[in-house]
């Protein structure tokens, strides 16, 4: 009755959230005196299977096949379904990415199981059952999800758990398993891909986010925001007002209809702090607000505030941090 984790990869690169989830799986398994198995699906991904052992897996089920090269629901779900039926894990965990959520949902429907989505915390009760804490009502309520069937499945939000240390000396077993569907049986075809801006940090995974809102006044207003972000190695975020105005693409949007993020540091520049924006960033560890209006609601959730013109403060902060961080 071990703990299984799906290790997500894209084009042969593992998604770091999978290692965060694997680290947590290791903890849960140790608490129960059981083992951790990682599931790696893809093509040419043996190296990821070895890495999974370093991050805490005892066993890795590796399905390496051309039909699994890009993520597609049908062939992926078919392999997972077979693995679950064969091994009956007690718990199965997934990173809460677009692919993780979709795959978890499909597998749960196929097998009549439950999933707790976007969990912020996981623990075991006295009987060793999984208790998954997740936000509902867009972060305004928390609940502990309990499960009626096994495996108990949860998708985990990015940065809910720390990145584990890899230990290259750990040993484990890699077990090759076959794909279940043949190409002719797979209805969906991936016909193209356009990479997002390279070298950009995505808001979902960032330790630090510098966000701009309507207060930046135009697309060029994001330039000082980007410069501050560059010094901090941060992602650039945005309010919906800035996205809707067409100043910055949607993938940067933080909030209820954008990304829900929990970085160590969130710097909101020219953002008023509407409820829908707060829903996406309120759980950040430290929040800084830079806004001309001392009455802006963003100050009610901020730890530090500067009531000033962002076009003065942001460049000044960039200069100071360049010196302090010597970058």
């Amino acid at each position: 009755m071990s703990v299984f984790v799906w290790i997500e990869q894209f084009n042969g690169t593992p998604v770091s959230l999978s290692w965060e989830v694997l680290g947590k799986a290791r903890q849960l398994a140790d608490a129960r005196g059981t083992t951790v198995a990682a599931i790696v699906l893809g093509q040419g991904v043996e190296e990821i299977a070895r890495q999974a052992i370093g991050y805490g897996a005892d066993t890795v089920y590796l399905a390496d096949d051309a039909t699994l090269a890009s993520f597609r629901l049908d062939p992926y779900a078919a392999v997972l379904k077979r693995l679950i039926e064969e091994h009956q894990p007690a718990i199965l965990l997934w990173g809460g990415t677009s692919r993780g959520r979709e795959l978890a949902a499909a597998v749960s429907a196929d097998l009549g199981l439950g999933v707790a989505a976007e969990c912020l915390d996981l623990r075991l009760d006295d009987e060793g059952n999984l208790v998954a804490t997740r936000p509902i009502y867009t972060g305004n309520i928390l609940t502990d999800v309990v499960f009626r069937r096994r495996p108990q499945m949860a998708t985990v939000r990015a940065r809910a758990f720390p990145m584990p240390e890899a230990d290259a000396s750990r040993s484990g077993e890699v077990i090759a398993i076959p794909a279940v569907l043949r190409e002719e049986e797979i209805p969906v075809k991936v016909v193209g891909f356009e990479q997002a801006g390279t070298g950009e940090v995505s808001v979902a995974e960032a330790n630090i986010i510098v966000s701009g809102g309507r207060g930046v006044k135009g697309p060029e207003g994001f330039q000082p925001i980007r410069e501050l972000a560059a010094v901090l190695g941060a992602a650039v975020g945005a309010s919906r007002a800035a996205v809707d105005a067409g100043w910055i693409p949607y993938k940067h949007q933080v909030g209820q209809t954008g990304k829900q993020v929990r970085p160590d540091l969130y710097i909101a520049c020219g953002i008023s702090g509407a409820i829908q924006h707060l829903a996406g960033m309120r759980t950040s560890k430290v929040i800084v607000a830079i806004n001309k209006d001392p009455e802006a609601p963003i100050f009610q959730v901020a730890d530090y505030g500067i009531v000033e013109d962002l076009f003065k403060v942001v460049p000044a902060l960039t200069e100071v941090l360049k010196e302090r961080l010597a970058r």
């Binding site: 677009s98 949902a105 609940t143 499960f147 901020a302 505030g305």
Partner: protein, 267 residues
């Protein structure tokens, strides 16, 4: 072309902070209800397909009697038909009982090309229902759709752009399929005056447990839910006591802020 839009009635997002744990437990929220924001994109996309290809749009929801208001909103925007699935026996379902019930109702509605859903709901926030519905219908699922590039209702094919973490993925699939849309796909229209009048007059059918052919009660009822919410509570309040940093110059303010952030070990 026949597109079925699955939509949910949810609390107005501006009122979500007013939701109390006790109200969630009793299912008695004292809030204004609206169509789930993501589902408005799904309705709009269905209407655009109808305008381009002819055909009709059916709005479908599972919920309490009041949820007809959400269907009326979809009709006011331009949907042709609407069906409410409502029965005390459905109870508080989850993504599995709801996906199962929606799928059975969709089968009963009859011939269709597309099922459109939103990315997630603002109350359950699970983002699972489109997937469970697709699996119970045994048809392809396309999530995170930001653009329908091509759709051919004669050849029964669709090609979409999906916005995933790493970029834009272009995917094609046979129809019928479930398509879950995200913000950015379109700008939902306002209801027209005529639409509002049509919606107000429309008799919207209500299907209960016994009205859906082949529906197995033990899969659709609350007791079948695969998960249960316990310990429903408010998140701990942010202990934020905002320190407003004041100084004679912005450079000085920036220096103080940098000191604070270094001390807090967040940079």
């Amino acid at each position: 072309m026949h597109a079925i839009v699955c939509l949910k009635q949810v609390p107005d997002t501006a009122e979500l902070p007013k939701v109390e744990p006790a109200d969630v437990m009793q299912g008695t929220l004292k809030v204004t209800r609206v169509v789930n924001p993501w589902d408005e994109y799904a309705i709009e996309e269905a209407l655009r397909l109808k305008e381009a290809h002819g055909g009709k749009v059916t709005a479908l929801t599972l919920g309490p009697a009041e949820a007809t208001e959400a269907l009326r909103a979809a009709v006011a925007m331009g949907s042709d038909e609407a069906v409410l699935l409502s029965d005390p026996a459905f109870g508080d379902g989850d993504a599995w009982t709801i996906g199962y019930t929606l799928a059975q109702a969709i089968r009963q509605i009859g011939q269709y090309d597309l099922v459109l859903c939103g990315k997630e709901t603002v109350d359950g926030n699970s983002g699972l229902t489109a997937a469970t519905t697709a699996r119970y219908l045994s048809i392809p699922l396309l999530t995170c759709v930001i653009k329908i590039r091509e759709v051919d209702f004669t050849a029964h094919t669709i090609t979409v752009e999906r916005l995933v973490e790493e970029g834009l993925e272009v995917v094609s699939a046979p129809l019928p399929a479930v398509v879950a849309v995200i913000k950015g796909i379109n700008e939902p229209r306002y209801p027209s005056f005529r639409g509002i009048r049509t919606a107000a007059r429309m008799a919207i059918p209500v299907w209960g447990m016994g009205d859906i052919a082949g529906l197995e009660a033990d899969k659709a009822s609350e007791a079948a839910a695969a998960v249960r919410w316990t310990n429903i509570r408010k998140p701990p309040a942010r202990a934020a006591q905002c320190e407003i940093i004041e100084a004679d110059t912005v450079e000085e303010q920036a220096r103080i802020l940098a000191d604070r952030l270094l001390a807090a070990k967040v940079i």
